[in-house]
């Protein structure tokens, strides 16, 4: 118990240490809460428990090697991280990616968005005391991870999106597998909504909690579902289309209440939109065609060619021993990750290793709004607010 001098005189408040091992902080977030009874006076987030220096490590790797590091930032959205990094390097190189590879990329990141939102929904429901939803969500997420395993050989750290295209040709029978998933999904979303949307406890815990007006959210650089739940239809897929998103038809769900309940509704609506995008991408992906750009010296050659052509063998050797060197310059690319605007800034000095790689993690920036959301609210609402900001500590701390 500490005594704190306030404007109105001496008040007795208590400082409570929430985290870094608290289960509802979704990782290793520590929040120092100053409490007056059960009301929050101030909240001070303390970060860095998961800082691994990924940006520094990237400077010591070639451009292609750094892809595997990006997987490990936002571990619920590894494909999105691969995508933003590859888009930035491709922009730096001035590299065009074949349409077929772009569509596969779109399909994969939208499946990733669904799986990320499912983990969010399941864990948030668990935080709020509804355990069943978690089991349902992880059941469907498992199906997505199985699809990733078939495509990339890996369930989570896929490194599937590479500079100039994608790593592997889509596997035999992928169409049936993805189709089975998208056909099943709408009914499953209805199932979650039946459990939650009109549930009185769920509404009681979320409605009116964690409110911030849209102007404050923009001033605090908040993006993603949190901003869209405040009525600002800002989505990078629409505002600054990348990877052929301009060819897809989908809506940007918004709400105006800007509370935790509105953020829940926006995310559920986004899952439905993502299912629509995956369907369209399936139609667009042809059965044959290039999956990598024709850029010798940057994209590794096919193994068959290496056995017959000397140039291919030389390029292969050079790519994996020395890498490639983009011309000096900078590129900043943003994509819409499940959590908001994910940016990647890459600067080259003309050497085979990047001069600087910086990631603008939406979790990191969005978390700034937490102290403002919880001020004056109950301690139980802190859990709801942290949950609906949807942070991934791997991305916050990098």
């Amino acid at each position: 118990m500490t005594t704190v001098e306030t404007a109105t005189g001496t008040a007795k408040t208590m400082v409570l240490n929430m985290g870094p091992q608290h289960p509802s902080t979704h990782g290793v977030l520590r929040v120092l809460l100053e409490l007056d009874g059960e009301n929050v006076v101030t909240a001070v987030p303390d970060l860095g428990y998961l800082h691994t220096g990924i940006e520094k490590s990237c400077e010591d790797k070639t451009y292609s090697q750094a892809i595997t590091l990006t997987d490990r930032m936002d571990y619920l959205n590894p494909l999105g991280n691969n995508l933003v990094y590859c888009l930035a390097v491709e922009k730096l190189l001035g590299l065009e990616v074949p349409k077929r590879a772009q569509y596969v990329r779109v399909m994969m990141v939208e499946l990733q968005r669904i799986s990320s939102h499912l983990v969010w929904l399941g864990t948030h429901a668990l935080d709020m005391g509804a355990m069943t939803v978690m089991l349902y969500c992880f059941r469907e997420r498992e199906e997505i991870l199985k699809i990733f395993e078939r495509f990339a050989g890996q369930r989570m750290m896929t490194s599937y999106i590479r500079i100039g295209g994608i790593a592997l040709e889509p596997p035999a029978g992928w169409r049936e597998m993805v189709k089975r998933f998208v056909d099943m999904m709408p009914a499953r979303i209805d199932e979650y909504e039946a459990l939650l949307t009109t549930n009185r406890i769920w509404q009681g815990r979320l409605k009116g909690v964690g409110y911030l007006p849209p102007d404050d959210l923009i001033a605090l650089s908040t993006t993603g579902p949190g901003l869209r739940a405040a009525g600002v239809a800002y989505d990078n897929r629409k505002a600054f289309p990348y990877s052929s998103y301009e060819e897809f038809e989908f809506d940007v769900p918004t709400r105006t209440e800007s509370d935790c309940y509105a953020r829940y509704l926006v995310r559920v609506a986004e899952i439905r939109e993502s299912v629509k995008i995956v369907r369209q991408a399936m139609d667009k992906i042809s059965d044959a065609g290039a999956i990598k750009s024709d850029a010798p010296g940057i994209v590794p050659p096919q193994r068959e060619k290496m056995k017959t052509e000397m140039e291919a063998l030389i390029y292969h050797f050079k790519i994996f021993t020395e890498g490639f060197s983009p011309a000096p310059g900078e590129a900043y690319v943003t994509v819409e990750s499940p959590r908001g605007e994910l940016g990647c800034f890459v600067a080259s000095d003309g050497s085979p290793k990047p001069l600087r790689v910086h990631f603008r993690g939406p979790s990191f920036v969005n978390l700034q709004a937490l102290p403002f959301m919880v001020q004056g609210q109950l301690i139980a609402d802190v859990v709801a607010s942290i949950g609906t900001i949807d942070i991934v500590l791997g991305e916050v701390d990098r």
Binding site: A219, S221, Y332, L355
Partner: protein
């Protein structure tokens, strides 16, 4: 579409020039991205001008980051990525900071969201932000010595 965006972005440079002839040191265009280099002294007022002018309306500060060009002097380049949500436009403001007692004006008075982004740069590059209300280390422990993202800091750490 990209070309149209570029034409608009060039207008931003021209407007800044008419506002203050000294405000634009250089306009760099590379891979369809516009970078406006602003003198260090005018950074905050130029940023504020970009935000409050209704025709520009850069209301969101997307990112703040630094590039260390060691051993070139001035070694640090501060990059600010601005977004105008209503006009769907992006622009980058840049200012050069010398390696001797590196310091630059904080943009917190313009965009409160600069808070953590600048703390991160302070933590990892050791650049001071004047006018920042809460300049503490954010990712590294308080007692950490050195600034790991500087180019003269070894990747394996200092022994």
């Amino acid at each position: 579409m990209t070309q149209l965006a570029n034409a608009n972005a060039k207008v931003v440079g021209e407007r800044l020039r008419t506002w203050n002839a000294q405000a634009v040191a250089e306009i760099i265009e590379y891979r369809g991205e516009i970078t406006i280099v602003v003198p260090k002294e005018l950074l905050r007022s130029a940023a504020n001008y970009c935000k409050v002018t209704p025709e520009l309306n850069f209301n969101l500060l997307s990112d703040v980051t630094c590039v260390d060009r060691f051993p070139i002097e001035p070694r640090f380049e501060m990059n600010y990525q601005l977004v105008s949500i209503p006009r769907r436009e992006r622009i980058r403001l840049r200012t050069n900071v010398s390696g001797q007692n590196p310091a630059v004006d904080s943009l917190m008075p313009v965009w409160p969201g600069a808070n953590w982004l600048e703390r991160e740069v302070f933590d990892l590059f050791g650049i001071k932000f004047e006018g920042h209300t809460d300049l503490r280390r954010i990712l590294l422990p308080d007692g950490f010595q050195g600034f790991p993202l500087r180019r003269d800091f070894p990747t394996e750490g200092q022994r």
